[in-house]
Symmetry: C2
Subunit: 206 residues, 2 copies
């Protein structure tokens, strides 16, 4: 079984690259399907599940210690429960035994015993802004500055969740087989190139 995982900066096009790779290689594709399954199993609204898992769930509070005020971050209990549920869904996907592409959700860490091919997609700031503008209607009313802040917050939440789950650093180069900067590419050509790259890796291991 061949599993490709895609981690990505918000706005880098990682999701589209993953979808195209799955199409080209004839693999199953998992993205919002995971959220839907977590929502179904927990009896919660999918929008709530998505928002809690992807963007929020971290809270700060101040404690006084040794005469100084410290800010402490903690995870909402509800998010921890959803992360456990999500892990089970992802393990369930792998247990199906079919080749697949999984977007985000730390699948590279959760499924490491399956030896997935792990990709991280990044992009330059301007390329990400442009992509967000073209894609997301809900972002239309945001200024560049607000959009950049949103991108930064989402990436920060992803990094925190990864650290929480695995103690490893999000986006750290050694953790992935391939880190690509999508800024300078036509996304179709890039997706094809990455799919071929991943196939060579799988073939070299069989």
């Amino acid at each position: 079984m061949k599993i490709i995982t895609i981690s990505r900066e918000f706005g880098s096009g990682g999701r589209e690259i993953g979808k195209r790779i799955a199409q080209k290689l004839g693999y199953d594709y998992y993205d919002s399907e995971i959220i839907a399954s977590v929502a179904q199993k927990s009896g919660l609204d999918p929008h709530y599940v998505e928002s809690t898992l992807d963007n929020h769930g971290w809270q700060d509070f101040a404690i006084s210690f040794g005469g100084t005020i410290h800010s402490v971050e903690y995870l909402q209990a509800s998010k921890i429960e959803l992360l456990v549920q999500q892990r089970k869904v992802i393990e369930g996907i792998a247990a199906l035994g079919k080749d697949c592409v999984i977007i985000g959700r730390n699948a590279d860490v959760i499924l490491k015993d399956y030896n997935p091919f792990n990709i991280f997609v990044c992009a330059d700031r301007d390329a990400k802004l442009k992509r967000c503008r073209e894609r997301a209607r809900e972002e239309e009313h945001l200024t560049d500055r607000e959009l950049l802040r949103k991108m930064k917050e989402i990436d920060k939440a992803r990094a925190r969740t990864r650290d929480f789950l695995s103690g490893t650093e999000w986006g750290q180069r050694e953790a992935y087989h391939l880190v690509i900067n999508s800024s300078d590419w036509d996304i179709k050509i890039l997706s094809d190139a990455v799919a071929d790259f991943a196939e060579r890796w799988f073939n070299s291991r069989t």
Copy 2:
């Protein structure tokens, strides 16, 4: 003209990958040739030039400021002169107008107006140790711990020189088109895959 630059962690196999890519694509290959040329132009011993440019040249000294001792890092004047000379040699290579692969030496920064395809090669700690053991006779007498310290020092010197030249962070993912972890690969298959990846990028831009 197509230029591929390879930055790399010490022991990651970046040099061999670069050589194989150049062979496969029929490009010129520049590595120690650059040192030889700098040495010739400056009338200095190639070993001194290599050691100063690659590994050393940074010195610390302590200054007292505001009642506290600070450690300050500075670059030897001799290293700055060699870096200027090296920049000229690298610009001279590009001015030849021939497709080429250039190993290290911040060629990606120096030649950025030529739109090179920039690769960074990293590897896991154990893979780098293994590779160093297999390759370098001079390292044979070092313990793992000493070898790791050496690897770390060389990478640190590379990072400092890059920061000094360009104000950018060495190994930061956005600065490269492709970051690859060589640990899990047969180096020949990886080199072929990277060469094809780079060719697609060049072809998509013409």
